[in-house]
Subunit: 423 residues, 2 copies
């Protein structure tokens, strides 16, 4: 048997009991004959407490020092986890991101991984140790400063190490049983997905599913590392994310993977844009220069009478003010009439392979929403996804209607197990 | 003006307010024209909390992992301190022991410094930064593992950096105003010492004075780094420890530096040892093999009638059981009669240069104890120290009597300020 990389999130190691429980699970994997490398996040609320401390001493903490501070969190959890494993009679050594060879760029607080040189990890596991690695952190290539990877950083650390160590699988342990066909808090009959392709998982992640972040899935796809998302609280099999169905997973793939929703976005409409070349470019260059990532973009056909059109796009609510300020500055150059801002929207997305070649899918999607009395404000499609924007108030009803219409509802009437301990 | 190394202990940076207060003091030193390197300990009770966590997951935490865990404490305090300084408009960068080039041996939990290669610190201060360095930690030369320096480690880090960076002075900030002629909690009229030689300070430290540890003073003496021990809570001048009196300190040195006491030791007596060559060697080889440091050793003249003698020695109470076990094993080889163990003792020491050449000193010392009704159980002397062992119950009275007898009492009737905030 080969090498397994396991990643445990902060809720799995929230206290001494959690750490001991996780240690047992790691030792089980080792006993079953695998080499084991573990990536661990900071305990429970540690990171929030450190952020709070930072804000007490400085309203705008410096990036380099902020990263130095935050990385103390994983240092604590990884050392404790190694101790707990040794207490079970197995050899374990903990390593910081820097010691594990996680080389990044120098963008503090959201560094990108440039390279992984896990020589010390390889040596440790070759000598029979379980290696425990701090998630979320690395060391910058040029200045040798400590960096953090930003949101989803620990998952990305795990996948990156799995790739560099040529692991069989990267197991992401979390507080839910896997990836579901919809958010189980919204759709009681949501089913756990046994297997999903990288492509569908990427679309789910960028459509609001929070189990795995886009960045981590993208990394796994590039290096073809199978991910197994599962609960650290139960012994259940979770969801495999890979290029091909794994082991005893069903080989036939359902067309539709799931329904995702996202209420974190806002909609900006630029009203009365002259319909001539270069206007859209000016608008979106201004947005890009403000470092804002936009999601959906829709331009209506212009009214023949006026030669004016409206351009709408969605973006994270947190960037709303910045976007409006950037657009105000282009008003002279573009000559639009006005700006509208709406943060009471939701995005509902249906994700599945082969959607384009099954024209019925789009029609069924719209019919389901229509039957539920949900009005559609924007539409955007890709090869394997349809997304619509609706009123935020309609989101739960819309998700349930689509989930049922596409036969995703669980046959059992029992509530889906969402997390193993209710946390 | 040159380079100053400042060291702040955990009580000085116990919370955000403490960190901001210390940041102001550091900035003042920088504004006065010095290059400033700061060594900082973990915040308040952080280390104790981490130890508690470790014991929850493992009764005997592994050394390597324990060091990894503990060093998270300084990582937090140093990053916060750097942020607080930047918030005051000055440039600051924090560095781990490893980044600061503190190279140690591989003895986890009590590593010794082998070398200091502070290239990154030198660069940082040459570029105008205040450098904040984690105390108490280093990196092992052979395995590149994180190590901690054990008791007094942060003070030693500060002195070692001061030596490597050729600093003018190493300022040790603490919660007392300096080194006193006796423990102010015992002797209300104890005086702050303005200047004390390395040698006298070494004797005070090894006789129970807790302000500076022996190890740190020894390092400072070897590299001739003046230490200034002072309060981080007041603006007062503290105590200079150096080879020669500093600046405006009085040049004439009092013969007697101070009175120290120590109640952390126990006394072992090996009764009825045959008075022939090699017996003492066998006994103390056994103690040394058990890794126990002994302090005072006294052998009585043997009784002519029996040819037997008694050998007594003192050692840390915490090593008592281990010593008795080691001695039990030598009983056959030595042929002694019995062992006695007594942990209700105190050691009182008078420290000062020129003691040997002032015979009156010893006599006055014994007279003072006698007048106070204190019985002497063991006596040991060095060039600059006389120590006696008494009953633990007598310690306070004995210290006060000696302090008064040697004219050390403060002329003022006011209580000595002990710490700036009463903590």
């Amino acid at each position: 048997m080969g090498l397994v990389v396991q990643k445990y999130g902060g809720s799995s190691v929230a206290d001494a009991e959690g750490i001991k429980r996780v240690a047992k699970r790691i030792v089980d994997a080792k006993k079953s004959g695998h080499q084991v490398v573990v990536v661990v996040s900071a305990m429970g609320d540690t990171t929030d407490e450190l952020i709070d401390l930072a804000q007490q001493v400085s309203p705008i903490p410096a990036g380099r020092e902020f990263d130095m501070l935050l990385t103390a969190g994983e240092r604590i959890s990884m050392a404790l986890l190694a101790m707990a494993i040794k207490n079970l009679g197995h050899e374990a050594q903990s390593f910081t991101g820097s010691q594990a060879g996680v080389i990044t760029d120098s963008v503090h607080n959201k560094a990108r991984i440039i390279d992984v040189t896990p020589g010390r990890i390889q040596t440790a596991i070759d000598e029979g140790n379980i290696a425990i690695v701090a998630g979320f952190q690395g060391v910058s290539q040029d200045k040798k400063d400590i960096t953090t990877l930003g949101r989803g950083g620990s998952d990305t650390t795990a996948v990156a190490l799995a790739a560099a160590l040529n692991a069989e699988v990267c197991e992401i342990y979390t507080d839910v049983d896997g990836v579901f066909t919809a958010d189980p808090r919204v759709v009681k009959k949501a089913r756990k997905i046994d297997w999903i392709s990288f492509e569908d998982m990427l679309e789910l992640a960028s459509s609001g599913s929070k189990v795995l972040l886009h960045r981590c899935v993208e990394y796994a796809r590039r290096y073809n590392i199978p991910i197994h998302v599962r609960s650290s609280f139960s012994g259940l099999k979770g969801t495999w994310v890979s290029s091909e169905p794994q082991g005893d997973q069903p080989m036939e793939q359902a067309i539709i993977s799931g329904v995702a929703h996202d209420t974190s976005e806002a909609k900006v409409t630029v009203v009365g844009v002259p319909d001539k070349p270069g206007e859209a470019a000016t608008i979106f260059r201004a947005i890009a220069d403000a470092q804002i990532n936009i999601d959906m973009v829709v331009q209506n056909v212009s009214a023949a009478s006026t030669g004016l059109t409206d351009i709408s796009f969605t973006l994270p609510k947190t960037d709303g003010r910045k976007a409006l300020e950037a657009l105000e500055k282009t008003k002279g150059a573009v000559g639009y009439e006005s700006l509208r801002y709406d943060d009471q929207i939701a995005k509902i997305s249906l994700v599945g392979a082969g959607m384009k070649t099954n024209p019925g899918v789009t029609a069924s999607f719209f019919e389901a929403l229509s039957n539920a009395g949900v009005n559609i404000e924007l539409i955007s499609t890709s090869e394997i996804r349809i997304s619509v924007v609706t009123r935020a108030d309609d989101v739960n009803e819309a998700v349930r209607a689509v989930h049922t219409a596409f036969g995703l509802d669980s046959e059992s009437d029992e509530a889906v197990v969402y997390g193993g301990t209710g946390r």
